[in-house]
Amino acid sequence: MHAVPPTGIGLGLRGAFLAQIAAGAADGRIAFVEVAPENYMHRGGPVPRRLDTIAERFDVITHGLMMSLGGTDPLDDAYLADLERFVQRCGTPWHSDHLCFSGTDGAWLHDLLPVPFTSKSARHIATRIQRARDRIDRPMAVENISWYLHLGEPAQTETEFLSEILDRSDCGLLLDVNNVFVNAKNHGFDPYGWLQAIPLERVIQLHIAGHEAWDDTLLVDTHGATVRNEVYELLAWVIERTGPKPVVLERDANIPPLEVLLDEVAAIDRVYQAAVARWGVRAERTKVGT
């Protein structure tokens, strides 16, 4: 039996504040935690024990880094076997990974590398999502990544590509609104137009994060800064249309004290609650209209 998904604002768990969260520092201030299984699998000592303590306090959603769904090497069976054990133990309602490749020819590059926006690539990825889902015996969601170049001549727009994958694999979308913003700025498109072109009914979770400008023409998704207002607005736009969802604040670089992150969670929650209220009004109007 899979867990009932949480909603509200959660925090991506990181080593920098793992002990504090295990000790109760975030009790009552976050709705759930999101964990990267790779940080806990094959690991002993204090870290997995702290995660067990945290899992007694909060719902856990798993979000992986190394499935390499867009990769050309076969899916790593040993990795998937370990992942299956981990997700079962956590009781996560679904497991997500990225629309990217992470290595080739047996060499892991440990990053989120872009994939070609073609139907061939979409079919390849959709098949791998289904295989992975069967292997780990959990529903799957995929996350849109920040990409800094087209990996070949695009035969589809990103939204067409994404939609084809979601349809073919029948999986959920982990919508990263910061990645939408970063891509829109780097490639010169309207983020709201992008959001209108994707199947919002597939969104089962959201990510929100900060980014940094590396030069005048390039934003990089570093997760190393506070969330910008424009990204808050994208989040609100989505929640107003989808209703309550789990939203994760991610921070991986320049990590501030936990208290600062928890204040940021509270700020996101205010935007989120207002958007949920507007979604409720919309839903009511729709009901009256029918």
């Binding site: 790779e38 190394m66 590059l109 001549e153 695009p154 390039l218």
Partner: protein, 272 residues
Amino acid sequence: MTAPTWPCIEALSIAIRQQSADSSLRANPAGFLQGLGVSSADADAMLKHGAERILLYRRLVHNRLRRATREFIPRTVARLGKARFRMDFARFVEDHAIATPYLRVVPETFVAWVVEPWRNDPAVPAYLIDLAHHELLSETVKHDWRGGEPPTGLPLALEYPLRFDGAARLLHYAYPVHRLPLDIDDRTEPVADPIALLVYRDRTDDVRYLELDPFAAATVQALMVEHLPVAQGLRRACESLDTPLDDERLATAAQLLADLADRGVMLGANPV
């Protein structure tokens, strides 16, 4: 040679891994990509923002892997120098396919790979290999998935092997690098003085180091590393030191094993 099925993916991977890719891409970006089987239309798309965007991925990957490694061996990298570390790391990324999906295993892979080049390079201080292993071990022992096993509950018996904590390791250093100051800016150079060290995780998850004299090291080697039954292991230890197994040695061994049991390293007899 057959054409690659996913030429753009393979080309980006090569641009990230190959040491010469940086200069090749800057000199002739389209030629570089087309030489790897990328069509001219695909190459144009990849180069829409210039070669810099491809090199950005190279930078992101190398930075992430180097940062993860530096976090595990900070004093080694500080003593080696950033420029040399970057150079060695770039060679490592090209030469050695990182075969693990776990980022935290990359530092261990790098150190295993770099031992040979460092050993053969007089510009690298000889003690640095020991220091890299030592720093690495602090992390790997702390987070080893083994360790913390319960005692067997069985008393020591001469005819049986012993069980030891799964995270414990016996190390042999040519230099006593474990005595170097922890200050990252310290540049004290250790004097060669071979030493054996037992590294283990205590009950509060702290990593501890125990210097072993030659007899203790030989005993731990025989009993913990080679899993020999106690009597055979003690004979082996004495043979290796060319010394008789007399009452004094037996008493010393008993004291050592009692100490290791107190530390939670020796867990009792292991008849299976």
